[in-house]
Symmetry: C2
Subunit: 208 residues, 2 copies
């Protein structure tokens, strides 16, 4: 029964949302689940695994924009020319979803930097971005690098907001963070376009 594990993970996420990540102890999570601390170890192995599971839950619930030409009504046949949202719109949507997720769970931003994109929920996101970049016309050898760059900008912005790096800029000049994020997304899109159109000098020769 993996049911119990999910229950534990959800309790831990709720606890982090309400009291902060430092309040997430094996003992506190156990109490919230109505069980003894040691009972957790049958389901999560260790605290590190608990934290991994927590970000996994979050990534799983991240709503991804549907890829172009997918999820069309009218039968299982492929519809390769169906005009789904174009890559620009999909990338913006993904960016907004990710930022919203971090707003909702600020404690997650630090963990997202420290866990490799290895869990299926994480590779799902990576694959989505790769697909967008290919649709944009980015040459194949540049796709992985650009995927990491796009992820770094989006995640870095959200982490800077959540962690406080952007905090308390100028007291006399309040910053509109929504608008700034939009402008950053614009810049990222332009970068992708430039790489796609070959205006950028290819600075990544054969990997090796």
């Amino acid at each position: 029964m993996e049911d119990r594990r999910q229950e534990i993970l959800d309790a831990a996420v709720d606890l982090a949302d309400e009291m902060g990540l430092e309040a997430v102890s094996m003992r506190a999570v156990a109490q919230r689940t109505g069980v003894t601390p040691m009972a957790l170890y049958s389901h999560v192995g260790s605290k590190a695994e608990l934290l991994d599971g927590m970000v996994g839950r979050l990534l799983a619930q991240l709503r991804l924009p549907e890829s172009a030409g997918a999820a069309m009504p009218g039968g299982p046949g492929p519809a390769p020319d169906a005009p789904g949202p174009d890559w620009r719109e999909r990338l913006r949507t993904l960016g907004h979803s990710a930022r919203t997720l971090v707003h909702r769970h600020p404690w997650a931003s630090a963990l997202l930097f420290s866990r490799p994109a290895v869990a299926p929920d994480a590779v799902r996101v990576v694959d989505q971005i790769n697909a967008m970049l290919r649709d944009a016309g980015v040459p194949s050898p540049e796709v992985p690098r650009l995927e990491r760059l796009v992820g770094t900008v989006i995640l870095g912005f959200a982490a800077s907001e959540a962690g406080g790096r952007f905090g308390a800029a100028e007291p006399g000049c309040p910053v509109d963070w929504d608008a700034e994020f939009e402008a950053d997304l614009d810049d990222v899109l332009r970068l992708v376009e430039m790489t796609a159109s070959g205006k950028a000098t290819t600075s990544m020769p054969g990997s090796r």
Copy 2:
């Protein structure tokens, strides 16, 4: 005597370098300084302040590229036309310094996201980047946003490397991270140039 404080901070930095950040406890730092745990509180106030002081020490030792037309030999008179390294070279140098610093102190990347750029050592870096962007011709209202974006890309890359987000990409296809960082810097430079030349639509209207 602020001397003792520095001694404590350095002991903590050494401890983090050797054993990781989780080994940095008040008790361990005290032992390394040859003092009782409680004696630390006269100098650092709390553990949070200790961590702040640690990143402060690191930022203070970050070697910044000399700004254009500064530190010229031959008297205190201003030499506004002295050709120091151009903004491109200075930004690359800063990027490499920051990445090298995080390589040397991987534990610092998480802290850099969670502390506002408020300490004098941090604003020193921010001001440097602002100066580079002005030299590049970025319009004034866009300078602060672009400073944050540049910082986010550089810090985000270093944090992804140090934290493990980039870890274990494809086993069959090793990635040259030095080359990737160089390519990312190229992209950032191009973005700055575009903003400077006004090719980018100004997406940040009057704040508010």
